[in-house]
């Protein structure tokens, strides 16, 4: 594989040249269509991925079919890291693409070999794991502590603060991310608009008042 493909993954820029060379020798790229299921929860974890372009999401479904989005991945993010490093080596979540996606693929055996041989690669993954763990802890706190209204306000603020702006989210995707259903998201967005917290025009939501939204975002589930 061309070494310059690695330059499309920003976090690899900190790696030593010999580490990058070793990755480029065993990695390959794959192009995936929108809506493609890359991994299925519970199946053996055979590959690790780094997103080169496009967006994907990690989700879990409960027995009643309700979906909870655990994470959304964009440029440079590693996918399936925790599954490859866990004891049972099973996929922790189902991964679906949200757009056309290009991924860099490493087999589980190459992934472990690189970790053992290249300390800068392991340190990089450790940093990614810590970031992912912090996000999961925030999500768990959000779901257990805050009302749905607060979770939506927090999520809107989070999206608006992201640079560059992420691709759009549908109401279903927002609902799955904050642990509710589409109709509730629709109703809350209408409430926020009536209260002057947001403005909507077409598919564009403009947040109007940071202080008021931040106050709603702190409302706890009583």
């Amino acid at each position: 594989m061309e070494n310059d493909v690695l330059s499309k993954i920003p976090m690899f820029s900190s790696l030593q040249p010999d580490t990058r060379l070793a990755i480029s020798r065993c990695a390959f790229t794959r192009q995936l269509a929108p809506g493609y299921t890359l991994l299925i929860e519970g199946m053996p974890a055979e590959h690790g991925y780094f997103l080169i372009s496009g967006e994907a999401r990690a989700l879990r479904m409960n027995p009643e079919g309700r979906v909870q989005v655990l994470a959304r991945f964009s440029n440079g993010d590693p996918i399936n890291l925790i599954s490859l490093l866990s004891k049972d080596k099973a996929n922790r979540a189902t991964i679906e693409t949200l757009s056309e996606v290009t991924v860099l693929v490493l087999s589980a055996s190459d992934f472990h070999r690189l970790i053992n041989r290249f300390p800068d690669f392991s340190a990089l993954l450790l940093h990614q794991l810590a970031t992912r763990l912090a996000k999961m802890t925030d999500l768990a706190a959000d779901l257990s502590l805050y009302a749905v209204r607060a979770r939506l306000a927090r999520f809107l603020i989070e999206l608006a603060d992201l640079k560059p702006s992420p691709a759009g989210w549908t109401q279903d995707e927002i609902a799955a991310h904050i642990g509710t259903v589409r109709d509730v998201v629709g109703r809350l967005l209408r409430d926020f608009e009536a209260a002057g917290l947001i403005q909507r025009q077409g598919g564009q939501i403009t947040l109007q008042n940071r202080d008021q939204l931040a106050a709603v975002a702190q409302e706890q589930d009583l």
Partner: protein, 77 residues
């Protein structure tokens, strides 16, 4: 990023159930052989009804979120 003006319809997922075209409150869609298409002039208000109704997930109406110009408290210090 440009504002989405209408939902996008993936015709390869459409099963021609006609729900979107029949129930659109603005009559913005017409059924054609290949599936629903937007009428011209465009009357779609991006109300998101059709996305919720579509049984196959063929219609996607993404929302993008940004801060408005007046969103920040003014800091005079």
């Amino acid at each position: 990023m440009a504002d989405p003006i209408t939902p996008s319809i993936n015709l390869s997922l459409c099963n021609h159930c006609t729900l979107c075209a029949v129930l659109c409150p603005e009559d913005a869609l017409t059924m054609r052989e290949q599936g629903p298409v937007f009428n011209i002039p465009l009357t779609c208000t991006y109300c998101l009804e059709c996305e919720g109704l579509c049984p196959t997930g063929a219609i996607r109406a993404p929302l993008t979120v940004t801060w408005g110009a007046q969103s920040e408290s003014i800091n005079l210090s």
